[in-house]
Subunit: 318 residues, 2 copies
Amino acid sequence: MAVYTPVSADDLAAFLAGYDVGAAVSFKGIAEGVENSNFLLETTRGRFILTLYEKRVDAGDLPWFLALMGHLAAKGLPVPGPVTDARGEVLQALNGRPACLIEFLPGVSVSEATPEAAREVGAALGQMHRALADFTAPRPNALGPASWPPLAARCDGRLGEIDAALPDAVARGLAAAAEWPADLPQSTIHADLFPDNVLMLDGRVTGLIDFYFACTDARAYDVAVTHAAWCFSADGRQFFPERAAGLMRCYLAEVDLTAAERAALPRLAAGAALRFTLTRAFDWLNTPADALVTRKDPMAFARRLTWYLAATPEMMGG
Amino acid sequence: MAVYTPVSADDLAAFLAGYDVGAAVSFKGIAEGVENSNFLLETTRGRFILTLYEKRVDAGDLPWFLALMGHLAAKGLPVPGPVTDARGEVLQALNGRPACLIEFLPGVSVSEATPEAAREVGAALGQMHRALADFTAPRPNALGPASWPPLAARCDGRLGEIDAALPDAVARGLAAAAEWPADLPQSTIHADLFPDNVLMLDGRVTGLIDFYFACTDARAYDVAVTHAAWCFSADGRQFFPERAAGLMRCYLAEVDLTAAERAALPRLAAGAALRFTLTRAFDWLNTPADALVTRKDPMAFARRLTWYLAATPEMMGG
């Protein structure tokens, strides 16, 4: 939520000289995305996001991410497409960082996951999966099930410092994930479609953003992540069946999940909840309490994890 | 350089209901201003900055700051004016913070203080001082000369940890400031007109921003601050006479400084350099080296201080 690498007016002018997008009219660093430096740029021709990729993003993955975004934008999905420069390139270097100029999309990040918004995001997720049927370049999921036991181990037995209930919830989640559903249909997935990665306007989805966790994995796992992100109160204490039913119904109107996928949904969602519990717990233990960055409570997802471990596909709305 | 207080889409919609500015089309937290949370808002009617004032700003001072900005905007200066709500109010509360909706101004923050830019900012400063002749509500300068000895004392004898040359530079600056020029013409002053607080477009000043250090003080002290901010290399090692000559000439074309003011310029500028040396040194000693906030080098202004202590008004371009 910060700008890590400054870009001066002169840096910007030199960068834009390689594009056919006009001259800068306004340029502001924006507090969007945890991982990168982002700027909102207005030129005489339009509006754009300029992203500088910081160390936590592997530069080797960037061509894949940008190809994915360009693929979805070209198919008419509300995804910000990378802008090509005069030489036809999208990936650049600026101030020592890989950088890309990206389309600006209108809309406001979703803050309250209403039933209406959950229906819209279910449909958008389904449309995205359909549009990705012919995007077949693979990228492994670095935060998939194989990563969870070592990630838990890196928390050094300190989960109980965060909450007394956390060690047991994680242990039960790891045990359940050890029997991971196999042979489910694969897709390129977003893997992080939380409300703050969805822009809406007048009740419609106008933007799906932040594809930097996207990867190849079970299509139904993306549904599970989105379900976990949208169907509970922020603290995970309350499940909202109407949001879940709407999200699933609108997704299933786009994508016909197999019986095996539907049956696997609770296990996949428990895994998704475990993944966010663990990454939040690791960040919590490694972020000073007084840091400017707001720490996200791992218990919000440990409670979801516990709920999914006792859930049926029907309880999930699937 | 961060958003400290989040504002959700629902918070925003409720806030905008009190205004006649249309509905939100886009809303992004921006990394502008060290002290406050700022958002760039586009509505169906126009563009605005939404500012939430964080703890470092005294809420009691806000009516004065907003009146100042409104005064300058009303006189046609390129200053963002506060927007009044349907009840005629500018100062609001949002998420537990004082808040204000402010006009958006185009332009890009100045990164390279070229001679041309220095001339433009000299003229803009002079026009601002002229426009403030009838803005007479006083606000004391909390960072004036009386504050410097106690601020130096709060650095706890640790200035040498930053740079071996710093303790001596500060001591000489404090000694010089002890004989502070008295009875100079007073004005409301910006007191922080650094390049990053000036927006330009096509070589013209389109915005003077960040008035939250503004106060009542010697008019020539504002010239001195601006001179120190614009006429050196960033690290303070090199003085640029052409920038200084242009800045002073264009300022003097707007405002006829008295002989006493011109004579006092080197002393005032040494004081200005001391003020930024001390606040940077205090922040440096109280910010962890690994914090996300970039620490600003106090030596960049200690070097300017040393230069001004040996300068004449003529050397300054005055």
